[in-house]
């Protein structure tokens, strides 16, 4: 039986406990807008004393622990989905830039106003292609006309310029994507080192009281998700509250120490890949923005680049081959029409630019009005080539545009789906771990009232003690 003093200490314990409750509620309210925060709850238990006059009798309350309402399964799911979103987002960014680099946009309202083409107009390589072959047609109509020759050269120069520009843009894009791989690797290394440090702090903090370093765990979960956005990591729960991380089977963080770091490596083609610095193995990543950037760069974007390059190479080869069979206005031959080997350096032979009469449009050295070669050049525009998958130049190019567009379209759709999944998971986590201000206000009121009542209890005991002490007088 506690006696009056015992009840006094009961009241004081109760005051302390209610105060702790208010502290926890206050901490929750303070972190209401902290997205990485998991709401906490004060666990309490009733205390009792055995062997009283009436058996066991209660001695009030005590706080046991501050518990986090964390759903570990949801956290793991969100971490893994974050990697997928990270990869898709990176792919989307890269592919959008690639699509912009091709510059193929449909603008039907502009059709007919600024172009001879009444059907519709895209200001791009596809227009450039049909413009050049139409200029050859016009030249075939008037093989000796200086203006037709000039027009062929202008259109060919503009097409060459478009090829060069696309190549430059894609080179620039590759450079940017390499930079983004580099900066991702840096951030990932930083995050892994942070996580290792947090592992150490959590282990130290939780000595003898596992799972108690609530806010450190929140911080580590935030870092883990940030890391998962960059690269897919396998997370294993280690000993003493630490987590062990590995990427592609290579251990990266083990307890409080960093086992290995990431570094970029050039496989020889200038397209940076990622490897484990210590293990020296190139990592095969399956998620995260590193995977997305590398995947978009090395598949869809690299394909587009090589297709555009192959198209330019085929243009140079085929146009020159036909041009070589012809004769200039003066009956001479031997000048190439295009110089260069691909999209990067395709250009109109400068000799022709200086002297348009050197265009070898005639099939007969003695007849300037012969247009056989000009016509054959014009007809190259619709001719299918085995090297281009039995497509004409223009068809091959529109296939390239469509194939890049389709990659981006697929990623866009996947991002839409992925967004739904991530949102659902986040809503679920928010539902169990998020702070509700209404709830906290209710708790606050509850603890406040209990605190007031406990104070009243102490007041009452004080009065009783006064009565008891006055008995002596």
């Amino acid at each position: 039986m506690p006696g009056l003093f015992g009840i006094l200490s009961l009241g004081s314990r109760s005051l302390q406990t209610q105060q702790s409750g208010i502290e926890v509620a206050g901490h929750n309210i303070a972190n209401a807008n902290n997205t990485g925060y998991t709401r906490q709850r004060l666990l309490v238990q009733a205390t009792s004393q055995a062997g009283g006059q009436y058996g066991s009798i209660g001695t009030g309350i005590e706080g046991v622990a501050v518990q986090q309402l964390r759903d570990v399964l949801l956290d793991a799911q969100i971490t893994s989905e974050t990697s997928i979103s990270g990869s898709l987002d990176a792919q989307q960014t890269a592919l959008q830039q690639a699509q912009a680099s091709l510059g193929e946009q449909l603008d039907r309202l502009a059709s007919g106003t600024d172009s001879t083409n009444a059907i519709g107009n895209t200001h791009s390589l596809s227009t450039g292609l049909s413009d050049l072959f139409n200029a050859f047609q016009t030249l075939a109509n008037d093989p000796t006309s200086p203006s037709a020759r000039q027009s062929v050269l202008l259109k060919a120069q503009s097409l060459g310029g478009q090829f060069n520009q696309i190549k430059t843009r894609f080179d620039e894009l590759d450079k940017q994507l390499n930079q983004s791989v580099g900066s991702d690797v840096q951030s990932a290394n930083q995050l892994m080192s942070d996580i290792a440090k947090l592992n150490g702090q959590i282990t130290a903090n939780e000595a003898g009281d596992p799972g108690s370093a609530n806010d450190l765990r929140d911080l580590r979960e935030q870092k883990l998700e940030a890391l998962a956005k960059i690269v897919k990591v396998d997370v294993a729960n280690g000993s003493n509250g630490a987590v062990d991380l590995s990427i592609g089977g290579v251990s990266m963080v083990s307890g409080k120490s960093v086992a290995d770091t990431l570094q970029t490596v050039d496989p020889g083609n200038g397209r940076l890949l990622v490897q484990a610095a210590g293990a020296g193995t190139t990592l095969n990543m399956t998620g995260g923005s590193l995977h997305g950037t590398i995947d978009a760069r090395d598949s869809a974007i690299a394909n587009t680049e090589s297709q555009v390059n192959a198209l330019a190479a085929a243009m140079i080869k085929e146009v020159n081959a036909v041009h070589a069979t012809g004769f200039s206005q003066g009956g001479t031959s031997g000048n190439d029409f295009f110089t260069g080997t691909g999209a990067g350096n395709i250009a109109v032979n400068n000799a022709l630019v200086v002297n348009p009469s050197l265009i070898q449009a005639s099939g007969d050295a003695t007849a300037a009005g012969n247009n056989k070669v000009a016509l054959a050049l014009a007809q190259l525009g619709t001719k299918p080539f085995a090297s281009l998958g039995n497509q004409s130049f223009a068809q091959n190019y529109s296939a390239t545009v469509a194939s890049l567009g389709s990659s981006l379209n697929t990623v866009n759709n996947q991002i839409g789906d992925q967004g739904v999944v991530t949102q659902m998971l986040k809503a679920q986590r928010d539902s169990s771990s998020g702070v509700s201000l209404d709830e906290e206000m209710t708790d606050l009121t509850r603890y406040q009232k209990a605190y007031q009542a406990s104070a009243r209890l102490i007041n009452t005991i004080d009065d009783l003690l006064d009565v008891a002490l006055s008995l002596k007088r």
Partner: protein
């Protein structure tokens, strides 16, 4: 489900962003009238549009080629009718130069024939856009040159062109030439307008023979050979004029076919690429309504909490 304080805010932000995206896309569709702008909007449709636009560009070039051939055909027609008039007058003179005419008269006729030859050579050396019409592909050389003797009588008219013809592509894979060459003595290739071994036409030589026979006062030879020759040449010219007419009709048909192909292509592009404006506007309106509703309800819900009721 337990609803937390951030749930409303997060959901509202997400909903508004979705609705804004949708509005932006619909607004773009309404403003441009297009369903697709970039390839990722609809890769397959983009490919179709690009291919169709390529076809459209080809068709408008074919239309330009047809117009160019029509121009050649009509310029050639003028040459033909010019030559026909000369041929008519020469036949007339041949008919008039019968046995009843005195030698002096025949000599006067001969002078006129000489003039007619010069005139015919001039007509046959006609140019269109700085290119000679009848010299085959040697368009920079006058097709006919005249040799005269000391008296100004024509002794020879020689052909400097070739038997080759420049053709244009007037429809996918179809090339044709609406022009004509002057002479063809090879026995193959296009028919010569003024002389061809296959038809027996040899306008200038026949005129020279007429001129010479008239000068010689040989009205019998005029009547027996030259008249018949002249009539063969006339027939040849008539048949060439007929072919030219047929070619012009063919070009006319090709032009109207081309036009309807162009409008078909335009329709096809429209079917693939254009937005259904009515549907777009209706969708845009309903999205706007949803957006307003989200804003209003969000503003109400976000503002309320237990704090409003606790003292």
């Amino acid at each position: 489900m337990r609803i937390t304080s951030n749930f409303y805010a997060d959901t509202l932000v997400r909903q508004l962003s979705t609705l804004e995206n949708r509005q932006a896309r619909l607004q773009q569709q309404a403003a441009t009238g297009q369903r697709i702008v970039t390839a990722d909007d609809d890769p397959l449709a983009m490919r179709q549009v690009l291919d169709l636009q390529g076809q459209g560009a080809n068709l408008s070039q074919y239309a330009a080629n047809i117009a160019r051939q029509q121009e050649t055909a009509s310029a050639t027609y003028s040459v033909m009718t010019g030559l026909k008039k000369i041929s008519d007058r020469a036949s007339e003179l041949a008919t008039m130069a019968d046995g009843t005419k005195p030698k002096d008269q025949l000599a006067i006729y001969a002078k006129e024939v000489t003039q007619l030859i010069q005139q015919a050579v001039q007509a046959a050396n006609a140019k269109n856009r700085e290119s000679y019409l009848l010299s085959g592909t040697k368009t920079d050389q006058a097709p006919y040159s005249v040799t005269t003797d000391a008296n100004g009588n024509v002794t020879a008219v020689s052909y400097n062109g070739n038997t080759d013809q420049a053709s244009s592509e007037v429809a996918s894979g179809i090339t044709l030439s609406a022009g004509t060459i002057g002479s063809n003595s090879t026995g193959s290739g296009p028919l010569g307008l003024v002389s061809d071994t296959r038809t027996g036409a040899d306008f200038f030589n026949h005129l020279i023979s007429l001129q010479n026979n008239l000068l010689a006062g040989n009205s019998a030879a005029v009547q027996s050979t030259d008249k018949a020759n002249m009539s063969a040449d006339e027939n040849n010219l008539l048949s060439q004029i007929g072919s030219n007419g047929a070619m012009q009709a063919r070009l006319e048909t090709l032009a109207s076919l081309n036009q309807s192909q162009q409008s078909d292509t335009e329709k096809a592009v429209s079917n693939v690429a254009d937005a259904d404006i009515t549907q777009t506007i209706v969708k845009l309106n309903s999205t706007q309504t949803a957006y307003q509703a989200a804003l209003q309800s969000g503003a109400k819900v976000l503002n309320m909490s237990l704090l409003d009721y606790l003292r």
